[in-house]
């Protein structure tokens, strides 16, 4: 019968191709595993050494008057919470508005000059995401020196430094979220006789909201572990400080650094506290990263 001649020839790769396939598979698996080794090692070390002091005292006491064992990181946890919160309050609106301006205004402008300026702003934002955090710290240090006594340290100065790092992260992430809001929806709003700002506030922002929240959370996770700028402008203390505007304020990363750097007689107690603080910090960052992803994912699901 002619049937065999019509049959599709088998698409079986030759021996050479199959061998190359096996080699490539092995190489890629090996790379993935090697890449995971440091990560697993880091987590393992942090957990195994940090668990020892993961106790109630760690979360309920500061280091005021503590020499040797005991003590906790409540002052540092509180400092990190306050400094990061203030940084978010400063940076999130700025980043969001920058992204809104880029997507809703600059990209849609009929003037080529404005569109070009939008491109410049984008470039600046991109460059700023790569700014070394110590430079942000130094910038704020210089600024503080201009308005207050040189070397004045405060929580809000730390927030300012973190905000500088956070703005471009939030701007970039929100921009991507806003770009993904379907053009159909904007046109649908405009076609109903809506002014452009109402289309933005009533259609674009609500549609993008989960993504924008995850952009901000991403920004928080980016700065919550920053050490250098805080060491420089927020300083360190062993005591509680609830006032962002005056006095040195401890933070978790700086706490780790100072525990490790300034060990007392009982070095093991200091090491142990540093590891526990490191573990808590890793959990924080992980929490924010996972939260950012979950919020972003819930958005896609509701859109279906």
């Amino acid at each position: 019968m002619t049937r065999t001649s019509l049959a599709i020839p088998p698409l079986r790769p030759g021996r050479g191709a199959r061998r190359a396939d096996t080699v490539a598979t092995i190489v890629m698996w090996a790379c993935a595993l090697i890449g995971a080794v440091p990560l697993v090692g880091l987590l393992w070390t942090t957990i195994s050494r940090g668990l020892a002091r993961l106790d109630v005292t760690f979360f309920t006491q500061s280091m005021r008057g503590v020499i040797g064992p005991g003590g906790g990181a409540l002052h540092a946890l509180m400092g990190t919470a306050l400094i990061t919160l203030a940084a978010t309050v400063l940076a999130a609106p700025l980043g969001l508005i920058t992204a809104l301006w880029l997507v809703e205004e600059a990209d849609r402008s009929s003037s080529p000059g404005v569109r070009r300026f939008g491109g410049t702003v984008r470039l600046v934002v991109d460059v700023m995401t790569g700014i070394p955090s110590i430079v942000a710290g130094l910038t704020v240090f210089a600024l503080i020196t201009l308005v207050a006594a040189p070397g004045t340290r405060s929580g809000i100065a730390g927030s300012l430094a973190l905000a500088i790092i956070m703005v471009p992260v939030v701007a970039r992430a929100s921009e991507e979220v806003l770009v993904r809001v379907p053009e159909d929806l904007r046109e649908g709003g405009l076609a109903l006789g809506a002014a452009r700002w109402r289309v933005v506030t009533k259609i674009v922002l609500p549609t993008a909201r989960p993504g924008l929240v995850s952009a901000v959370v991403l920004g928080v996770s980016r700065v919550v572990g920053e050490t250098a700028p805080l060491l420089l402008v927020a300083g360190f203390t062993d005591s509680m400080n609830y006032n962002l505007l005056s006095g040195r304020m401890a933070s978790l990363p700086v706490y780790i650094y100072s525990q490790w750097q300034n060990k007392g007689v009982d070095a093991a107690a200091y090491n142990s506290r540093a590891w526990t603080a490191a573990l808590v910090l890793v959990i924080f960052v992980l929490f924010f990263q996972v939260a950012a992803r979950l919020i972003g994912r819930s958005r896609k699901e509701t859109q279906k």
Binding site: R108, A191, G193, A195, T207
Partner: protein, 276 residues
């Protein structure tokens, strides 16, 4: 010949032709250097359905989007000529495009209900977006009336609080039509409103067009010849005469005549499916 002429005259004396609501006068539109559609002059009668047909790239969508001034929201877009609605120049210097779009509603190719809004809020979106406040009962009435007008009320009345995205494609498109007519425009533009719908939903939307023309003036862009023949009173055929040239209006007239006895060979070829 003289008999036909006197017949026409007689008809005109008995029933004067309705004055054109929408008048396109030497309209050209494009983006930057590119002119998509050139020099279209067309009168569109009130309470009729006008179909814009023609091959892809002839500029019929651009022309449609020029009528509600949506075209100009794209950077680099430009429109020249005059478009008047009931004598008002829609491109007048002091005219706010936002107000034009409230008088000239639009339904898009892809149904685009607002995903964050409920069915009810979608219907009322136009009033909210225009900054008008409705009382609860006014909102209820407008929702029910608009959804009844698009024959969607019975299907959704028990789930007005659900997301508009939960509806089927055809229902979503009818929801978008309800949303467009809730602000009571004078003209309703439809840009290939059925091209993403199944035959049953298409029939529903076509019936809706016939029902809506008693209250609105409809302009429909369509690729579907049969649809143009079924729903429209007037057909305008646009085409590109030479590659690289902008689209032009080849001819316009009563749909029956365009389909049965077109004046131009290009129209006949397109309708017969010889091209495009």
């Amino acid at each position: 010949m003289t008999e036909t002429l006197s017949d026409t005259l007689l008809t005109q004396m008995i029933t004067p032709p309705p004055s054109p609501t929408l008048r396109l006068d030497h309209v050209s539109a494009g983006y930057g250097e590119l002119t998509a559609v050139s020099d279209v002059t067309l009168d569109i009668e009130a309470n009729s359905v006008t179909a814009l047909i023609g091959p892809s790239g002839c500029g019929k969508s651009t022309l449609l989007r020029s009528i509600n001034r949506l075209h100009e929201t794209i950077p680099g877009a430009r429109v020249s000529g005059h478009i008047t609605l009931d004598g008002d120049d829609l491109y007048g210097a002091e005219v706010d495009p936002v107000d034009v779009r409230a008088r000239v509603g639009m339904v898009f190719q892809r149904a685009n209900p607002f995903p964050t809004m409920s069915i009810r809020d979608n219907v009322l979106a136009g009033t909210g977006l225009r900054g008008k406040r409705l009382t609860r009962s006014q909102g209820d009435d407008l929702t029910e009336q608009s959804l009844r007008d698009v024959k969607l009320w019975d299907e959704v009345k028990d789930r007005l609080g659900k997301s508009g995205a939960s509806l089927s494609g055809g229902q979503q498109q009818r929801l978008c039509i309800a949303r467009a007519i809730a602000i009571q425009p004078e003209v309703l533009l439809m840009d290939e409103p059925c091209s993403a719908l199944d035959p049953a939903s298409t029939a529903a939307v076509e019936n809706l067009m016939l029902a809506l023309k008693t209250a609105y003036t409809l302009v429909v862009v369509t690729h579907n010849m049969a649809q143009a023949a079924r729903v429209s009173d007037t057909t305008a055929f646009l085409s590109v005469t030479q590659p690289g040239r902008p689209g032009e209006l080849i001819e316009a007239g009563p749909t029956k005549r365009i389909f049965n006895d077109p004046l131009r060979q290009a129209t006949r070829d397109y309708i017969d499916g010889k091209f495009g």
